[in-house]
């Protein structure tokens, strides 16, 4: 171990890594589910996350709504946003060349960023702190913010619920069927549009929860806040094996831990904090292109 790092700080960093990783995992699920079904990198997902952060900010800091009302409204609006984006920007292009779909996704992302800059100004807004969640408590030399514990717990509960839904319910079965074979699923009478809409709804809802938790830990919102987390979370999905929900969670955690631990062990590299995800991406693509949990994909004519 590097000189100067005590067991306490190491544990502390582990907790930070766990909470950051859980946030990444929540967002990564949205990417992986959409990719699994539409084979599309939903570039707008990071910006959906950003909009959710603004919804929360407006609810709490501008309209002074109680937090539980804000959370419900945020999640509702974000789901609406995600489903609308799919309806307006992706559905008309479903039979178009894939490049058009990808450009449309980038276009939506660019539009959301610019609309947010225009409406809310490019300046970062301070998110009100929750003293209950941010005042650290101490366990044997460790100082822990309650929010760092709350995040993994919430994330764990949501992910378990999601896995249950995917594996045990009818809509989950439909989703798996569409992901395996789009055309056959259609022939079997699965309502493709409904399945895709609910995929976007679930992804957006998780992004909304991720945004709420993110704002509590990093209390500041700005229009471009979704870009870098968005890219990283897509990478997390690739690390775990794109299309695989458990893989997205695993990838998110790996990314969270490696980021926090890199900064902790090599403080000189703090400036390169955002770069580690891409280094991992290149390594994964070179040696394990299907990700850690992904299946080998066979390309058919």
């Amino acid at each position: 171990m590097v000189v100067g790092m005590t067991m306490e700080t190491f544990l502390q960093q582990l907790i930070n890594g766990l909470s950051l990783g859980s946030l990444y995992a929540l967002i990564a699920i949205g990417y992986t589910m959409v990719y699994g079904i539409l084979r599309l990198i939903n570039f707008a997902h990071g910006d959906i996350f950003m909009m959710a952060a603004y919804f929360t900010y407006f609810g709490i800091a501008v309209f002074f709504l109680p937090w539980y009302v804000t959370f419900i409204i945020t999640i509702g609006l974000t789901i609406l946003l995600g489903v609308t984006i799919e309806r307006v920007a992706y559905r008309p292009l479903r039979d178009a060349p894939k490049t058009s779909l990808l450009i449309s996704a980038i276009g939506v992302s660019f539009l959301l960023e610019n609309v947010a800059t225009y409406l809310f100004s490019g300046k970062p807004q301070a998110f009100p702190e929750f003293p209950l969640l941010t005042t650290p408590f101490f366990i044997g030399g460790l100082s822990i913010q309650p929010v760092s514990i709350v995040i993994p717990i919430v994330a764990f509960i949501l992910m378990s619920a999601l896995l249950f839904m995917i594996n045990k319910t009818k809509i989950g079965m439909a989703m798996r069927a569409v992901a395996v074979d789009y055309d056959t699923a259609k022939l079997m009478g699965i309502k493709i549009n409904g399945v895709i809409s609910s995929t976007f709804a679930i992804g957006s809802a998780l992004a909304a929860v991720g945004a709420i938790l993110w704002c509590m830990k990093y209390p500041s919102v700005l229009p471009l806040m979704g870009v870098v987390p968005g890219l990283k979370c897509f990478i997390a999905a690739v690390i775990g094996g794109i299309g695989n929900v458990k893989g997205a969670v695993l990838g998110g955690l790996i990314l969270g831990f490696s980021e926090v631990l890199m900064v902790a062990f090599f403080p000189a590299l703090t400036g390169y904090r955002d770069a580690i995800a891409f280094v991992i991406l290149i390594i994964i693509l070179l040696f394990l292109p299907n990700g850690l949990l992904g299946k080998k994909q066979v390309e058919k004519v």
Binding site: I41, L102, D274, F278, I282, L285, P289
Partner: protein
């Protein structure tokens, strides 16, 4: 001797319109270079740089069908190479005042052209390292990896204080103001792209775009061909970035934010993915349009103080434009057509026919 003269004569007879057009174009650039004021000169230079970078992007994205979003990053590499190697040695101490320039670079000063080409080559080297893992795989990994790369390169340039002067950027780069640098390079790039696209390489690019599996079955080496296209694109983009640095006279990491890439994406989508002439037209439209619409960012000057006009509106308009083109006019201005004399004659004929029929045509040719 006689033979070649005959050939030249025949060639001119066949392409006399193009030859006349080129001569007029060159005279036009020459006249503009003499008479245009400094604001317009800067704008026209910017147009030419946008032509270079957009063509390079179209070569990769439009002709080869590989989705690269690294333009801002490759431009940054070209721009910084030019900046580092052309800033006069004596003014370096004043620029690098926080931390002196690394000794191995501090005394090297190169002529502009050499630095420009070096910048292109540096982009190629980096592109090779990004391309080798990503282009082997099917799917969209290239998009994420290149977008990520242009973020990383910014981070690196911000942190390597002794080489790039970090967030402060490098100032007092010897500037170019003549239009010939940018337009000369743009013409070279256009000619190179045309020759490339209509060569056997170009046909391989298009085959990959249409169907990778079929192309592979026809004996096109997928990885090698994609890599060729990607590296050539990176080279031109690096050159474009170098010209950009020399045009502005200063570089800093903020200029190369990834949203810069979206300008070029808008251009190639508007012009038509896979059309050289479309890209050129769209480069001018978008660059001049962005200047012309600057008033959208200013608060309304007269009477009503409408809060609609304020910073950011211009970019909202442009992103809306991108969405509308993608959703409703997917082919852009030109589709995969080129603005040749035949194409124009055909269009002219069809318009004439439509007018003489005096009926609303059921065939929506679209523009």
């Amino acid at each position: 001797m006689n033979e070649t003269q005959n050939n030249l004569g025949a060639y001119l007879k066949l392409h006399w319109k193009t030859a006349v057009f080129l001569v007029v174009l060159l005279i036009g650039i020459g006249l503009a270079d003499i008479f245009v004021d400094s604001y317009m000169r800067r704008l026209l230079n910017l147009c030419a740089i946008y032509v270079i970078v957009s063509l390079a992007m179209n070569l990769v994205n439009g002709f080869t069908g590989q989705f690269s979003l690294g333009q801002a990053g490759f431009m940054a590499i070209g721009a910084y190479t030019v900046a580092i190697f052309t800033v006069p040695v004596e003014s370096r101490a004043a620029i690098f005042y926080l931390e002196p320039m690394a000794p191995f670079l501090a005394n090297i000063q190169l002529p502009f052209v050499v630095a420009l080409i070096l910048g292109g080559l540096a982009s190629v080297v980096v592109a090779f390292f990004i391309g080798s893992p990503c282009l082997r795989l099917r799917g969209d990994y290239l998009a994420i990896a290149t977008l990520g790369f242009s973020e990383i390169i910014r981070i690196i340039f911000t942190n390597t204080q002794s080489i790039t002067n970090g967030a402060l950027g490098i100032k007092s780069i010897p500037t170019i103001s003549s239009l010939w640098w940018t337009y000369g390079t743009a013409l070279l790039v256009i000619i190179a792209t045309i020759l490339l696209v209509y060569s056997s390489y170009g046909r391989a690019f298009k085959a990959i775009r249409e169907d990778e599996i079929a192309a592979e079955a026809m004996g096109v080496g997928l990885f090698k061909t994609k890599m060729t296209s990607f590296l050539i694109g990176a080279f031109f983009t690096g050159i474009g970035g170098g010209l950009f640095a020399a045009l502005l006279g200063t570089v800093d990491p903020k200029q190369f934010y990834f949203t810069l890439t979206y300008n070029f994406l808008l251009i190639i989508v508007l012009g038509g993915m896979g059309s050289i002439s479309g890209t050129i037209i769209a480069s001018f439209l978008v660059t001049l349009g962005q200047e012309a619409l600057r008033f959208l960012d200013e608060p309304m000057a007269f009477g009503l103080d409408l809060p609609i006009f304020r910073p950011g509106l211009r970019m909202v308009v442009f992103s809306f434009l991108l969405m509308i083109i993608v959703l409703f006019y997917r082919k852009g201005l030109m589709g995969t057509n080129e603005l040749t004399w035949d194409f124009m004659a055909q269009k002219f004929q069809s318009i004439k026919k439509k007018l003489s029929r005096k009926k609303t045509s059921t065939e929506g040719g679209g523009k």
